[in-house]
Amino acid sequence: RLTSQGLRRLRCSVEFLCRPLKQPTWKIQYQSVLRFTTSLPDFIAEIQRDSDAGSVMSPAGCSHVNGFKVDNWKQNLRVIYQCFVWSGSVETRKRKAKSCVCHLCGAHLNRLHSCLHCVFFGCFSKKHIHDHAKNKRHNLAIDLLYGGIYCFVCQDYIYDKDMEQIAKEEQRKAWKLQGRSPPSLMHNVVQLRLGLINLGNTCFMNCIVQALTHTPLLRDFFLSDRHKCEMQSSSCLVCEMSQLFQEFYSGHRSPHIPFRLLHLVWTHARHLAGYEQQDAHEFLIAALDVLHRHCKDDNGKKANNPNHCSCIIDQIFTGGLQSDVTCQVCHGVSTTIDPFWDISLDLPGSSTPFWPLSPGSDGSVVNGDGHPSGATTLTDCLRRFTRPEHLGSSAKIKCSGCHSYQESTKQLTMKRLPIVACFHLKRFEHSAKLRRKITTYVSFPLELDMTPFMASSKESRMNGQYQQPVDSLNNENKYSLFAVVNHQGTLESGHYTTFIRQHKDQWFKCDDAIITKASIKDVLDSEGSTHKRTQ
């Protein structure tokens, strides 16, 4: 039954799809992470805004540098860095030792600054450089200890991309001269490669944790310390996640042992307790549920109303699924919208009927990649998920228009898309008759447009048109893949691994404590049981 191709593909993958914000949040530097506002929706909106426009912390610096950036300013700045800040050679050091003293009080410490417009050194602590700036209207000065540029109009250090570039280059040059290698920029580099030790069949938890810690908005939330804990004991899962995030991004390289996390999940989600084989998807839902229960919304109220919660979990993961029941007699439509954290998709080969929706998907033709050209796609599964379904004569619905029980059709569509969408391919079949794993390969794209599956697109679909959206500039419904969780093996014994994307196109495979580099092809070749995409 298993062909060689089948053997190769005997892995399930769970993909996490995220909608990219207008500019991906993983590009935000650590400084921006501290930019939180008082309300959570504003926080998220602000990240979106910051990604577009410049902000106070943007690398465009302040406008007052423009007066400085004239003529041969780059070379002048380099000379200043070489001679007075990062003095690398013997001559420059001698010169620095002699001349770098405050012109007013002779101090050589006290946060000495050099004026950028003339040859003047003044100390900061006694405000001698401030006096100079005011008297001469020289607005810029440079800190001789760390090389930061201070603007007296903005009254703060500013970050100008061009000037930072020069500073870094000169620093490297000076280090080279002194035979030093640059220290690892631990405060800047986001270490995304932290392995998780398997505590005995806990790979189902590890894979989800890897995916969650690499969810950009969640990362920003936890790294900016937004969770204010109300729980007395140390049993708050949100606090534990917060610590986990801090650990992940602290630059530590040795693998993390998630025993506290495991214990907390056992405590709060009893049905998962025990060392039996567990399902990663179940864990995801349980974890999100506990996190949601332990979160407060930003107004200080306990988040116990599922319809009006504004906790970070709901902000990121909750979407709205619209269910339309149409009476076949009077064509009246009854609509409900339910929140969802994931979209569970049936697969071909399951006992529920699935019809091929893409042409030629009988699996017989093989293209160069080794995949049947008619392989089922994620889009096929989504089309099936959102198709109108006749409920049959044994499942008549009471129609409020007809005032009687009538046959009806039901259709599911997306009313409101979450920022992070989790697609779950139902590979594990547990029916009364059998328990098995469905190994059908499902191909999935790196980018996914959900527009055809929106409630607003229903009309064109009812006419049988599955068009590509005309307006491809509209990114609102577009998702970009950032995590894939794989399951290898059988229902009885198997192993979970995760592919994680860092930056735009670098992928890593997380196999418990072992993190290795992966190619996009590895990712796309894997089967998917849960997909996470970010908008």
Binding site: R35, G106, D156, Y157, D225
Partner: protein, 107 residues
Amino acid sequence: MFNRFQFLFQTNISRESQMRAAINQKLIEMGERERLKELLRAKLIECGWRDQLKALCKEVIKEKGIENVTVEDLVAGVTPKGRALVPDSVKKELLQRIRAFLAQHST
């Protein structure tokens, strides 16, 4: 009498600052200042001082609000405590290094 004492006092102060300047010059010239800076940085990270300062900074930021806080606010809010938090062992080690250096390069 009082004036002379004051005069002596003043001379000593200026001689002290002269000495400081001379030491500092030497340290910079020989590149030792940079090496000491690196050593100090490593020591302060090791003993957890940097993490303590980070926490202090976060408090200042929360107090002032992220939109308004300046580097000056942080410096002013954190420096006194920060200085006090440096462990004696670190201070001792740095002093020893400087003494050894001066002994080696005394003119």
